[in-house]
Symmetry: C4
Subunit: 277 residues, 4 copies
């Protein structure tokens, strides 16, 4: 009996290494097939929303959709089974995402009939949550994330100042242009200001009066120049992050830090640097 449990736990361990790990050939194969399945299933959801594809290939899509749902259900059950702490996995971010990505298809069985109503449409699209499963494979973005974290406070102050400017400009434009030119309310006017200050410029609402066009021109020039601020902040932080990665070795002779990555000798005093990074 004990042996059976042992062999079972050994099997569990092996499976866990394949499913959660990436250091075995089988684990890598599992990951890659999963990525392909996720991308294909998300594309399927997208194509299904195109009217003429839905009409022509609707039935094939339903079949494929069920295949992917079964694959992801199996994956979810396997993860639950071989996880060391199943409950903790189920409550983790990835656990919830994994569940949410299979639920919609089953729920669509429970609430049939009401075809293409809002509820079903949203339910079906919940399947794009599968795309979040790809986050698992994005661990290399640490440098960028760290640079963003460190600049987040400055960027927040920047956006706070910009939102003050947006509020004031929106109110002015609402008074100047008024409802006749599409500025029917201040929330709509705020929408216009953001469209303009970010240099998107849809053109669905445009100023009609001379004064309005002058204020619009000022808004554009403002948006055109203040983009330099977040860019400058992030560039400075990324430069430092890249610079830091370069080398943390300290010369034992003159105490200089900040050597080039593959330097063998200190460029200030000429003494040999230690090999470890």
């Amino acid at each position: 009996m004990a042996t059976e449990t042992d062999s079972e736990s050994l099997f569990k361990l092996k499976l866990r290494r394949i499913i959660f790990g990436t250091d075995t050939p089988a684990g890598r194969f599992f990951d890659i097939s999963l990525i392909v399945c996720i991308i294909l299933s998300v594309m399927l959801v997208f194509l299904d929303t195109v009217a003429h594809i839905h009409q022509q290939y609707g039935e094939i899509i339903i079949v494929l959709e069920w295949c992917f749902t079964i694959i992801f259900t199996l994956e979810y059950l396997l993860r639950l089974y071989c996880s060391a702490k199943p409950l903790e996995y189920a409550k983790s971010f990835y656990g919830v995402v994994d569940l949410l990505s299979v639920l919609p298809t089953y729920l669509a069985l429970v609430f049939p009939g009401a075809n293409f109503t809002m509820v079903i449409r949203v339910l079906r699209l919940f399947r794009i949550f599968r795309v979040f499963k790809l986050l698992r494979y994005l661990s290399e973005g640490n440098l960028l994330l760290r640079a963003m974290m460190q600049s987040s406070r400055k960027v927040f102050i920047f956006f706070f100042s910009v939102s003050l400017i947006v509020v004031v400009l929106s109110s002015i434009m609402y008074v100047v242009e008024g409802p006749n030119n599409g500025f029917s309310s201040i929330p709509k006017s705020i929408y216009w200001t953001i469209v303009t200050i970010t240099t998107v410029g849809y053109g669905d609402i445009t100023p009609g009066t001379n004064l309005g066009q002058a204020i619009a021109a000022f808004t554009m020039l403002l948006g055109y120049s203040i983009i330099a601020i977040p860019t400058g902040i992030l560039t400075a932080e990324i430069s430092q992050e890249i610079g830091k990665h370069k080398d943390l070795r300290r010369c034992s002779n003159c105490l200089k830090v900040g050597h080039e990555t593959n330097a063998l000798y200190c460029d200030k005093c000429g003494s040999e640097l230690e090999a470890d990074i």
Copy 2:
């Protein structure tokens, strides 16, 4: 009698610390409630401009508007009362903003009847001046402000050169396209050039002739590339500001901070700096 004045002045002092200061729990609570009130009251003004909200909830909005006005009036009077120099506060930037943020509601009482005319509409919107009261809490933006100050001269020269280019391009486009394609006057042509050179691109005025489209393409490429200039200026300045802040060593002799990262000696007095970072 003296004791009464003393206890009164003690009360004043306590109140002043709550209202103007941020270092007591009561002071922090006062600040946060004020921020919430400001944001809510500004959103109220915005929502009131939406036609169907104004029709349905117009009366509730008026009641809430009076609540906020009374709160801000009380705040203004309290600030006047407990300020050390009331007149100086009243004439300061924040004093004027505080007054302007309550005045419109009272003025709307004085000039009633003429509902939704231009004057009243502007008066009502003056209440968004309350948003400027938030500036009080934006003191952390010093680094960005300093970088902008130091680059302001270069950025000014940049905008001056750009405006020369805009003037010349606008005149050329006015001659090439003419009033038939929407370039009805040079001021309108300037508006188009700014829309194009900032890469906003509404599309309300677009070149119709082949030559006009060629000049427009040139304008776009110009705008697309010269944005690099203010970005470059600001990035360089921000990098330096951040870099300066990084080395936190203080010279033990002349107390200077802000040395270069790998400086060994203070560059102001020449005494040795301590090695630890």
Copy 3:
């Protein structure tokens, strides 16, 4: 007789110092009044193109226009008179600009009658050449200009590569979308590609087919990301230019260069730096 010539040449010298120089109070006053005249006269030309202003104030504008023309004519003659080498001045860039800025008004006298024809319209607008006279006061932009010069080779290669991409994308879009969706010829398709790749996005020509929209999305993402290249080049150059300006002093003890601008002591060896920059 000799005395007369002497006093005349002395007068000429004095006048030259006022008109060409900026180091005397009279010279500065002359410059500032000239700048004001140039800006006012250019604004006059602009306002004259607005139809309803032309109708209402047309006669006042003509009078003012003649005033400015006489002022600039006098300025041109004075510059010719007191210049050390009048012919060289007349052939210089500023000499030609000064002449071109008065000529149009006189030429409009020679070719009257044909009101509002193309020729006259262009002639009148030649007066905006006056704006180039402001270039005289833009001498501080040297740092920016130097940074642009040094990066010009790299920026040229960048734009050359971009134009190759634009040509290929334009041809593909012409084939995919065809004349029915507004891509009536490759030059028009090039116009669309530039509008898209610079993120201007007028919307006067937009892709209609699915494939066209996919290629358009690719073009946008390309334009959105390659703007980083000229920005990066210029930022690097400006950083260096600003860094260079910092200090050219070399420590006489340890030969280190690159001290901070107001450093008194070398931060590497602690020896005093010489005061001169």
Copy 4:
């Protein structure tokens, strides 16, 4: 007989130096005339697509087109003839481009009659492949290319994260706006999201509902701020590439170049560097 072969091979060698090399006056002349021919022939293809030019000058264009085709055919044959390894040249990138740039004109002879059908139109436009022949002269872009290579991994992670955001935002907008406002399918919704997030903003599809406009505003602000990330990455890399190139000292011991600006000792072998820059 041997002499004849010798003189022939000498002639081949000379020709190869002119055609493939750029170090002789004749070689430079050959290159420049080729560039002029390529640009002219590409412009010819472009102008031919303009309807009224095709009607008026169609016959002249055909004649010129044949002239260029003969020139490029001769060039191709000459390159084949004097190349050291003709087969390898024919299979190289430039060999294929050279062939593709002459083929379409001959193919148009084989498939006549069906004028202006899709096939012929595409065939004719294949001639723009000639533009790729210019790549041969773009060898100076190495610094930029190296900076892009080194940042490609980070930029890829950035674009991967952005595409996750785009997919989620597109699905939300599809549910919120629906087919009535132009968001007829998720692929179309993705097109809209890319148009918005890159700040292009055509305006062919714009949100109609209040919630949709709020999400759109968020998308714009996101796109407006995340452009800082690739810019920051590339700026940091280009700065380093330019910085490396600046210090031109060569270590007399190990011949390494590319030391840091204020390095005193070679960081590869530890021997002293000469002081002069």
